[in-house]
Subunit: 337 residues, 2 copies
DNA sequence: CCCGAATGTGTAACCGTTTACATACGATGT
DNA sequence: ACATCGTATGTAAACGGTTACACATTCGGG
């Protein structure tokens, strides 16, 4: 059905080896022969089959990217960063998403097996054991926001704790006594770390932690919306809300506006991620900047380094720093200056 | 380096055929043998190599999704819809993005070659000839928003024209005389169709078309932001702005707010796509609803139908209907009721 | 006791490439 | 005239699986 190298070889009156040499610009082949082969190939619409080639060269020029989910702008930004870096290095990206469960991840990892030269795995909800169990030993792997503490892997983790800590501390320093948090998905590393940062900042400020101020969320806009509504039913409103990501902050903002609560005047609001849209919201969202696209890009670079340096490559575990982006929604400019 | 079926076979004391049968649940194999093979395989951490398997079965259980770009929420929603549908059918999705140029697309198609059983291509900027030239003849293909008019392909196109037409007509009917448009990327099918709908609606309303009201945009938030600023420099402001997508509407909204222009009171605003965040904006964005996730899902279903029905499969070219979602930003509720 | 069927397993060809090695041939140097 | 070399090409063995077919064994029935 599909035209193979053999047919090209036959029609051009040469061996498959020669055709192969032409397509790989490898070895020597007479200029005239080269021309004839190219001509026949074009005529037959021949393209080398990636499977056959990959099988024999043991490389695929592709990198796999495994993501837990695909809601909001966060993940697509990661993909964008990775894809860009990959293409610059003449690699291609194979993306597979929605792997929150162990089984799904396992199955996805399996599909990737053989198809890619290396793997980037973002898996903030899978426990260390399950993850390691399923990760291929034979392929370079870069871990992103994974619950793994093991120097036999390259890994990058967003400094969620510090980011959340600093943001909440900022809110407290500007006079907020009752700071609420809209939590992220349960058992999710990012969510847990951000919660930890929130609590620490409050504790240090000598504020009490109120269970009622820690409300459910799952990183989606609608959960942020509902969370904000719930917070407004409390007899004592919070004066500030820290949403564990920008999507939820957006949902919360929408709920607050609907209920006629002025942001930041009545309630201050802050998010996390600094997704592209956050600067365009009204009020512009104060948030914790995460270098999202860079995250994808550095993962790719790490991987490529592992390919090229092979044995000289030394694994690295790094914390990716975040920074505060104070725009309007936290109200600090009003309170400070 | 990597453990193969041979090693498993050897260690389990059987032939590779038997191991293969075990892993495919095909043919008969003694219960005891099956158990032993599984055990050895697990011990050796064996996973069948996708390349080898694909080469001999001529199927990969994977579907390729080619996207032009990855900005904003639109594309990630397409991916989400496709991935979900794919997984339900036990297929895996290979995503590749950023293929706005012919070369990039060609190269991406090449990588996919052999790796996938079918292809979904969204390519609103590539001309029909270049596209057909590069599309594999041997694989089922579903075209999404492509400039191709050919019944030898399955294809789905968003009804951009009608969507834009109806939205602009709506604005006109509510008294807007000067309706501006923020255009989408040049040479982009979606952009062109939306522009066509805009013009037609104005013409029908007997309004004149002003070149100055058709301003540049490229579907990004920042271009929407700049476009709105530019529109405000006109001696005669538009009373309504139709942005060719939601991202640009968001950017425009931000610019208007900064310049102290009330939306929708002073200037009405509408977008296109009905991306998830649009309902959460303030004011909530009136927009043209596009069933984005469905788009990905129906493409997958079409493809799977082509796999299973093989010869009985009849190609279909369909226009995906859009619908108006009137929220706050167009101000119609105020003007009507 | 023999035949045919059922059951379990192995052999080897094949899928589409690449590539180490072999071969053929003309040119060059002595 | 011959060894040597370079150049252009072919041969065939991988790569890691699947599967048609063959073979061996067991079992039930006549």
């Amino acid at each position: 059905m599909n035209v193979t190298i053999k047919e090209v070889a036959k029609k051009a009156g040469v061996s498959t080896a020669t055709v192969s040499r032409v397509f790989n610009n490898a070895g020597v082949v007479d200029e005239e022969t080269r021309r004839r082969v190219r001509e026949v190939a074009h005529e037959l619409r021949y393209t080398p089959n990636a499977l056959g080639r990959g099988l024999s060269t043991r490389r695929t020029d592709a990198i796999g990217l495994l993501l837990p989910d695909l809601h909001g702008e966060f993940f697509s930004e990661v993909i964008r960063g990775a894809d860009q870096a990959a293409q610059q290095n003449r690699y291609h990206l194979l993306v597979s998403s929605s792997h929150t469960t162990r089984e799904a991840l396992q199955s996805a990892l399996q599909v990737m097996r053989g198809r890619v030269d290396g793997l980037i795995v973002m898996s903030p909800s899978i426990d260390e054991h399950s993850l390691k169990e399923n990760l291929p030993r034979s392929l370079p792997v870069v871990l992103l926001n994974c619950l793994v503490d093991d120097d036999s892997y390259d890994s990058f983790n967003i400094d969620n704790y510090t980011g959340a800590y600093e943001m909440v501390r900022h809110l407290v320093q500007h006079g907020h006594q009752r700071v609420a948090i809209i939590k992220g998905t349960e058992k999710n590393l990012d969510a847990e770390e951000r919660l930890r940062g929130y609590r620490q900042a409050l504790r240090e400020a000598g504020a009490e932690l109120h269970a009622e101020l820690e409300v459910f969320g799952n990183f989606s806009e609608s959960s942020g919306y509902e969370a904000a509504q719930k917070l407004l039913t409390l007899r004592a409103h919070p004066t500030a809300i820290f949403a564990s990501n920008d999507s939820m902050a957006l949902g919360a903002l929408s709920a607050l506006r609907e209920m006629g609560v002025a942001v930041p005047q009545e309630i201050a609001l802050a998010g996390f991620d600094d997704v592209p849209i956050s600067r365009f919201l009204s009020p512009a969202l104060s948030t914790v900047h995460v270098p999202i696209t860079d995250l994808g890009a550095i993962a790719i670079q790490k991987l490529i380094h592992a390919f090229t340096e092979k044995n000289a490559h030394v694994k690295q575990q790094a914390l990716v720093p975040t920074s505060l982006v104070l725009r309007e929604s936290c109200g600090c400019s009003k309170q400070i200056s």
